[in-house]
């Protein structure tokens, strides 16, 4: 894990040509598009990308146009893991047989929360178990945004989506978010990390670590969707900072199963008074608007309690409890 962060100064990044190009049709304020661009800044050489069906696939490859300046494959919703497996297996054997140039070619799979928490988890789990050498990047906007904001296993408790609507008797989604990154750590894989685009350098360095590590790597990136979150498009990146500061989405790495907090979260662990109340994060998103009415405000306490509990558990895993 000896990645020199010095490699990724603003100057380095600005000078490196983009592999995810402008001209795509993502909405204003789309954090996933930023995430893709940042991750592609972390590549070390020839790279093949595969992507699950979802917003980022749809906005970037409307035939006959493409935003991808690197080989790119999409096949279906649940196949990011299995496609990466096939590409990696082919590269390995074709190189061995001398049918392609013997150079390091990296494989990156992108999928949203639907394609990862839900429909694609089997293919992802299988690919990781088999130990294929690839980086899987989950851009988590916490619902099926491409199809119109339906709830996923990544949607947090209390969020109103089009299939977990906040109504007169139901306060939005009644279930908690699946701890997907922990599930991936439990696969005994060499590298798992969480990242948020506000901390862009941390994100790029983690993506690079995931690329360089031998075997599968998983990067869970928090990526607000202003359409689905009913949030201000200009605040998408700041929202990811707030998610980290409230410990809704702490930043950490697990190298060979060993957890450690990343700096932005470590700061909070060392100075707990810096931890912001969850309300600050929820209040700026329309999907949680109903929680600020007398009828449902009790759920705010429950969300705070669950967030604290998860944070405490994480601190324990990081040896900082």
């Amino acid at each position: 894990m000896a990645i020199s962060e010095g490699k990724f100064t603003i100057k380095d990044i600005a000078e490196k040509p983009d592999l995810f190009l402008s001209g795509h049709r993502a909405c204003a304020g789309c954090a996933p598009a930023t995430v893709l661009r940042l991750v592609m800044k972390a590549t070390r050489g020839p790279t093949i990308v595969t992507q699950a069906t979802g917003c980022m696939e749809v906005v970037s490859t409307i035939y006959p146009y493409t935003s991808w300046a690197t080989p790119w494959l999409h096949t279906a919703f649940e196949t990011a893991g299995s496609n990466a497996s096939g590409i990696e297996a082919a590269l390995k054997i074709l190189k061995k047989k001398g049918k392609i140039k013997n150079e390091q070619t990296d494989v990156i799979a992108f999928a949203g929360d639907g394609g990862t928490f839900d429909i694609g988890i089997q293919a992802l789990s299988g690919a990781v178990e088999r130990g294929h050498d690839f980086l899987y990047v989950l851009y988590d906007n916490e619902a099926y945004m491409n199809t119109g904001i339906q709830r996923s296993g990544g949607t947090p408790l209390g969020a109103s989506t089009t299939t977990s609507q906040a109504g007169t008797v139901v306060p939005g989604k009644m279930e908690n978010k699946k701890p997907i990154a922990d599930i991936m750590v439990a696969h005994d894989m060499p590298y798992v990390a969480t990242a948020a685009p506000y901390y862009w350098k941390d994100l790029i360095v983690k993506a690079r670590k995931g690329i360089e590590v031998n075997g599968p790597a998983f990067l869970h990136v928090f990526a607000p969707c202003p359409r689905g979150w009913r949030s201000e498009p200009s605040k998408s990146i700041e929202l990811t900072k707030l998610a980290v500061e409230t410990c809704v989405f702490p930043l950490w790495e697990a190298v060979n199963g060993e957890f450690q907090l990343s700096t932005p979260s470590k700061v909070i662990a060392l100075a707990p008074q810096k931890k912001k109340p969850i309300k600050e994060y929820l209040a700026v998103q329309g999907r949680f608007r109903h929680l600020f009415t007398p009828k449902y405000e009790k759920l705010l306490d429950e969300i705070q309690r669950l967030t604290d509990e998860r944070w405490k558990r994480l601190l324990k895993k990081c040896g900082m409890a």
Partner: protein
């Protein structure tokens, strides 16, 4: 046939014949998931891997859906790819079958034909592949283990042919072929190597005006499997159909080339006509049942009955014109379906053969016989009964029961 290669006789069941053919074809990637009655194929291949007999990346996926997704991805990366499945496994691949043909990935697959649930049944019928007839895959059905071996070797050439570039499946009847030991003549490794060759890639024009191989290649970045709106999608599908039409000629050409090498041929590769030339009554079927039908035809011929058989070997693309020509002089024909098309007008084969006959000025009478579902045995007596029905139809000039079920308790 003076250049026929000296061959070795091996005792192989259909599954082993598949695995042996795949081994000889120098496959780059195999991604597969086990399912009865295909399991011997993946086990045998694992044995080849374990003993260093193949130079193949073998990916044991966690489902058939992932197997096909991995195959497709490996194929568009430039690899020669093979997989095998059956029944529920093929059904689970359903989504990816269309994506694979749509991406023009020449994956080769063996399907040990088996019934679909429910009730759960592991035995042979054609429910699985017939349900995938519109998935854009070339479908070839074998009659015996020898043909299984020969067809798998040919399948790589067909699928990867630059005029085709379509995934191709070879169907072998579950247990009847997959698990039955037969004498199989196999070609020497070097002969197969030369026949199958290495995978060629289509050259495509990039937007920059460069001609580059169609694959995921960092030197020539290409976007594969994009999002196509109503203004482009239709043309993609039309091109797939064109490739299917091209496949007619390619399948025959490769079959003939193989016949020169091996001394074995299967009709004209699309259809096999057995004593059909002067036949008055005929059976149409696919797969291993043709063997039983041939025995019955021989018996009937001895008795002076002008019986014949038309075996459809290539079901996709469907050789409709040739079927019509072959049956034009027949007076009555029985079309045997080993799968149901619930609520349809008989089985799939029946519908399509009847459709093929429609434009003939004089058409034979046609009756549908659904048989052998879930592995139910169909014996020569039952086949004989079908021919007797046809004789009666010819005499009475009437089809009493257009759709009949063979060997069924009603």
């Amino acid at each position: 046939m003076k250049n026929i290669v000296k061959q070795e006789t091996m005792g192989l069941n259909g599954d082993e014949a598949v695995a042996y053919a795949a081994k000889q074809s120098d496959v780059d990637v195999v991604a597969a998931y086990p399912i009865t009655p295909q399991t011997i194929i993946v086990e045998k291949f694992s044995e080849y891997v374990a003993n260093g007999e193949v130079n193949t990346e073998y990916v044991c996926t966690e489902s058939e859906h992932s197997a096909m997704a991995a195959c497709l991805a490996a194929s568009v990366t430039g690899a020669r790819v093979f997989t095998a499945t059956a029944s529920a496994g093929l059904a689970l691949m359903h989504e990816m079958l269309f994506v694979t043909s749509g991406c023009r990935a020449p994956v080769v697959m063996a399907v040990a034909n088996r019934a679909l649930s429910a009730p759960l049944n592991i035995h042979g019928d054609h429910s699985d592949t017939m349900a995938e007839r519109d998935s854009g895959w070339i479908q070839i059905y074998a009659e015996n283990a020898q043909e299984v071996y020969d067809s798998v070797l040919q399948a790589f050439r067909i699928a990867e042919h630059l005029d085709v570039q379509l995934p191709t499946l070879v169907g072998l009847d579950g247990f009847t072929l997959s698990h039955t030991l037969e004498n199989v003549q196999v070609l020497p490794d070097d002969v197969v190597k030369e026949f199958v060759g290495t995978r060629q890639l289509t050259n495509v024009l990039t937007h920059e005006g460069k001609t580059v191989p169609f694959k995921l290649d960092p030197a020539n970045p290409m976007t594969m499997g994009p999002f196509a709106m109503p203004n482009y999608y239709f043309e993609f599908k039309r091109q797939q159909e064109e490739a299917m039409k091209n496949a007619f000629k390619v399948i025959q050409q490769i079959h003939d080339e193989y016949a020169q090498l091996s001394g074995r041929s299967y009709g004209d590769s699309l259809l096999e006509k057995y004593k059909l030339e002067d036949a008055e009554i005929a059976v149409v079927c696919v797969g291993s049942t043709a063997g039983t039908v041939k025995t019955v035809v021989d018996e009937l011929r001895k008795e002076g009955v002008k019986a014949g058989l038309l075996r459809i070997r290539t079901y996709r693309p469907f050789p409709a014109e040739e079927i019509a020509r072959s049956l034009a002089k027949v007076k009555a024909v029985a079309i045997m379906d080993r799968s149901m098309s619930f609520g349809g007008n008989g089985g799939a084969l029946f519908s399509e053969v009847c459709h093929a006959l429609y434009d003939l000025s004089t058409r034979p009478y046609a009756a549908n016989y659904v048989y052998g579902l879930g592995g139910r045995d169909t014996d020569s007596k039952q086949i004989r009964k079908i021919y007797e029905d046809l004789q009666r139809i010819v005499q009475t000039k009437h089809v009493d029961e257009p759709i009949k079920y063979v060997g069924l308790r009603e």
